[in-house]
Symmetry: C2
Subunit: 322 residues, 2 copies
């Protein structure tokens, strides 16, 4: 069933049918209704390729995922995709999921662009010395970067890590902690500094003592760091990642000595372990990224977006509340 068939059945020309479908110019009400009726009756859908070819534009957007058979943490995928899909669903857009190996991935983006398959794409997991950076700077094609980057001015959407750092300290202060240990991630990635800044801002606002030590975001590093610490020196611990908080939790279990504990990322396991954590609203990040990419690709103006974070309060701090 193609447009020509509908045209014949409705006794009009293909141009008229097209105009009805696309609402592109005035069609007499009577004609329009007849055409719509036939379309509905036969369940006609315009051919995707023909439409894209002629319009030189599709309603497809690309997300090139890094393929990794096994990851320590893959919990972002689902809420992120859901956020994108929510927006896409309501705007009749579709997502192409492609994948790349770390090396040689530029070829993939180039193919996507040159074959006119997508109207734009999302960039995730961009690292500081990522080979994609140069490429992204060199192209004139719509894309949105997920996560801020120190050195470039891409259009991005990012969680408010600074707020997260602030909220963690604020909450510990609220339940009465006065001597807080902050286990930061390794210096390097932008998030480390953002979270640290939030923590330092909170220190100014609340009357607390704060010590800072450094891990590398992993569970093992959390364990290793806390092992060298005298727990009794503190009355509250805030980790810059959930995994590090799990490491700390392991150690506290071992010693059977517990302090209020907050993580950062709100991984699904934190719910299970009942550890308080800073929630990054990955869903919202996806939703906003989708909207921004849509706007960008249709020539509308787009501003960077910072998504507020929440704190998920659980037993790990709640049970210490006075």
């Amino acid at each position: 069933m193609k447009i020509k068939d509908i045209a014949e059945l409705a006794g009009v020309s293909v141009a008229t049918v097209s105009r009805v479908i696309n609402n592109s110019s005035k069609v007499k009400e009577e004609t329009k209704n007849k055409v719509l009726e036939i379309i509905k009756k036969y369940g006609y859908e315009p051919d995707f390729s023909a439409k894209s070819l002629r319009k030189r534009s599709s309603n497809l957007f690309g997300l090139v995922m890094r393929r990794n058979h096994i990851t320590e943490n893959d919990s972002y995928t689902h809420p992120f995709l859901n956020g994108i899909l929510e927006y896409f669903f309501h705007n009749d857009l579709k997502l192409i999921l492609d994948s790349h190996e770390k090396k040689n991935c530029i070829v993939h983006y180039e193919k996507l662009i040159k074959s006119n398959l997508v109207n734009g794409f999302f960039i995730t997991d961009l690292e500081d010395n990522d080979e994609r950076i140069e490429f992204l700077n060199s192209i004139n094609f719509p894309y949105i970067v997920i996560g801020r980057n120190n050195k470039n001015n891409f259009i991005y959407v990012d969680p408010d890590n600074e707020l997260g750092g602030y909220l963690g300290i604020k909450h510990l202060n609220e339940i009465g902690c006065k001597n807080i240990l902050f286990i930061s991630g390794s210096l390097g990635p932008a998030v480390t500094y953002q979270r640290l800044n939030g923590v330092l801002n909170a220190k100014k606002d609340f009357n607390i003592n704060l010590d800072i030590v450094y891990g590398d975001f992993s569970r093992k590093s959390g364990y290793d760091v806390i092992k060298k610490i005298n727990l009794t020196d503190y009355d509250g611990i805030f980790c810059s990642s959930d995994l590090m908080a799990y490491g700390v939790y392991d150690y506290m279990n071992e010693k059977n000595y517990y302090l209020p504990l907050i993580g950062f990322d709100d991984l699904p396991s934190s719910k299970i372990l009942k550890i308080s954590s800073i929630n990054q609203n990955i869903y919202q990040i996806g939703y906003n990224a989708a909207k921004m990419l849509h706007y960008l690709s249709s020539g509308r103006e787009v501003k960077n977006v910072i998504i507020p974070v929440d704190i998920s309060i659980r037993e790990s701090t709640l049970k210490f509340k006075k």
Copy 2:
């Protein structure tokens, strides 16, 4: 840059260029090399829409995800997609991710088919009285169902739940358990019976006592069920879902009385909690589903596939090993 440009630059006709690209019929070695050189030099990629339109077929396949802003467990998404993408990557296929709300989702599949956007699709989360079943039976279009269904004979790929049930009991037996409690999921879904069958088969093979009680797969139901049980009657517990195992674990923590414990699904949190579990190899399911759909859509024969499961052995049983 289009095929005509390449043709002119190489001093041949578009037909020849097309033949080179598609290896569709003999082209003189010399001509071929010249064309390939030009293509490479200018980084030409055939237009996706034009190609699909003419060939009446794309290399796109669809996965329509149920959108759910918040789920208790979304850990399947990442490994499943990764499995699909691994196969797709190596076969130059692409995945369209679409989403639907529960009601009215048939329209979506119909659109996908009628607009010739995809060559086939995956069906996930099919329930016993799903409205999609009738639809799927009525169409003549390639699709693969993830997860067996009691009442239909779709082409499916599914984890070997029966083997999982068997392996759980086998492992408990190996560490010396003689009086085992199996907490089954609710009667209804096919998985419940499959897992139960495996457990019963193992009972025959090993010399153990086995009691069976029923939860509903949720953490709360695990807790509620175990609460009514006298823990000292048993020396090992096997749950038909990880979530139920977490509920049991909660209770054991409360009572500070531990028995060997195995879950089913191997959610990421089980690694964190160090609870042994049956691993369903979701990645393999994705990979195989992709391969099957590819075969099916290109007219090759396809058989149902059952993916073996593994057991991930952790502290929750290991520490009881004699």
